[in-house]
Subunit: 307 residues, 2 copies
């Protein structure tokens, strides 16, 4: 139950119609690690600037998150600012300052190389490749990406695809990566670009659809899960990474990695994402108790059960 | 297993990136009746013009659809023309000629008044009220509506809501009717505007979300079902009414009308909608065999089963 995770750490300035905050601790690595920490011990690899304070390191350590792989570099921590209107699907990026993340090219601590579960947050596919090559044949590799890399680093991304077991992206990215409008066909195409996994199973694509839930495609099957609907959503920032955290976190505790455990893992991912959006930034992921996760899981399972 | 259905019969001119056709038999009553006819005997009430041919009546009769309630009036049949682009969610109405449907105010044939299942297609809520008042306390009333009536006949629509058991509309209509952006809150509000049903159960709202599936709300619970994803979608016209046809059709065969049977009915509705969109207009609903429905139901159940 150890998970290696690589991604960004950021200070975010967020504005939604309901809440707002400045320099909120964020980044894919933060959301992923906090969500996954409810299931496993997390070994994040990332870079922060001089403005990253002892209290931030302390927060990670308090949550089962090892800080050995976090490098503190000269300069400022990556910072991002975004605004949402009432339709949370419309996000406006106010600014993106990569800062120390611009030169990120991590060397894994030796002890990290044999960790069996690997999550690659959204970043340059070339970095994702470099990281994969440093690991000792992990049991499972899950990766995220985005339109920026699909446009600019397609060749490297296609190479990454052949090294990972599960890709988690959204609808638009699925269509763009496959160059195919029909989502079903696009998904099938992406799965065909991936390689059969080390465990011998089918490569898997998970398509995130926000409030509409998700689709999961293997070479043979597809599966669909609705979102957990909430009365109040305050801030969608980090929901995708919280999903990945719950998903990989649950899988790291499973004896068998197969379609059955993947399906159940999407439920835990969905639940972690649903908690994430209930408060500003990663606030809710920080205060969350395991009991609450189990309660919501039971409720979720019952809510869409057909009996 | 008799269903009374009231709605429009139209000749549609449809253009999608994949198929197109002129004067295709359509209208809510046609799609509903053809879909529901795979489950029950249908008693449609509607009006057609002089251009409605014996072959059209014959088509209905061939499909378990009684034609006694269809009035042939002086003038032309309602006609509609729509175009879709690759994103089927973007529909452009080219024209709507109400023709004989403009003066529609049906008097139910006496034998129809005691039919236990009633579907009210999208039409003036005042007509929906008039029809309800002619019936002898049906076991179940299901209705559809649209933005046009929400804007122009809100008062009458709210009155209709208090007479029906189940309302089937889309997301945007839900938000508009409730005057509330949050879909969860909007759904709760609409259900609270409806009256506890004759069977003593909660009133129910079904929110259609096209390719994203549906949500079902009662006073206490919610439920979510994904769509049945297809490799090829040719024409989304009529999918909502085909859904209603499968939904009410399945329910007309059930001993118990409760949340459990409603959930299962949404699966049959979803499957009938999935067949509907596979060919131009109602073509597929016409040629469909019961065996194909059962096969797809099994496949659907398995596909999103969590095991």
């Amino acid at each position: 139950m150890k998970i290696l995770a690589v991604g960004s750490i950021a200070f975010d300035t967020i504005k939604t119609p309901f809440v707002s905050g400045k320099n909120v601790l964020g980044g894919s690595l933060t959301y992923f690690s906090l969500a996954a920490s409810h299931f496993a011990k997390i070994y994040p690899v990332g870079v922060v600037g001089r403005d990253f304070k002892p209290k931030h390191f302390k927060l990670y350590r308090k949550h089962n998150i090892n800080s050995q792989g976090l490098t503190r570099a000269a300069g400022k921590t990556f910072s991002w600012s975004g605004q949402y209107d009432y339709d949370f699907n419309n996000r406006k990026t106010v600014y993106t300052h990569l800062n120390v993340f611009a030169n990120f090219d991590p060397v894994l601590p030796t002890a990290y190389k044999s960790i069996p579960y690997l999550f690659l947050g959204n970043m340059d596919p070339q970095l994702q490749l470099n990281i994969c090559r440093q690991t000792a044949n992990p049991r499972l590799i899950v990766a995220d990406t985005m339109n920026y890399w699909i446009e600019r680093k397609r060749k490297e991304l296609l190479r990454t695809l052949r090294l990972i077991d599960i890709l988690i992206i959204n609808d638009a990215e699925t269509r763009q990566l496959a160059k195919e409008h029909n989502l079903y066909k696009a998904a099938r195409k992406i799965v065909s670009l991936m390689k059969p996994t080390r465990r011998g199973g089918s490569p898997t694509l998970i398509i995130k659809r926000g409030e509409y839930g998700l689709l999961m495609f293997t070479r043979k099957n597809w599966f669909s899960l609705p979102a957990f609907i909430l009365e109040d959503v305050f801030d969608p920032t980090g929901a995708g990474d919280a999903f990945a955290g719950g998903f990989v976190g649950f899988l790291s505790r499973q004896k068998h990695l197969n379609e059955k455990s993947f399906r159940k893992a999407t439920m835990y991912g969905t639940i972690m994402a649903s908690f994430c959006v209930e408060q500003l930034g990663p606030k809710k992921l920080i205060t969350l108790k395991r009991r609450q996760i189990q309660e919501r899981f039971k409720k979720f399972k019952k809510l869409f059960a057909l009996i």
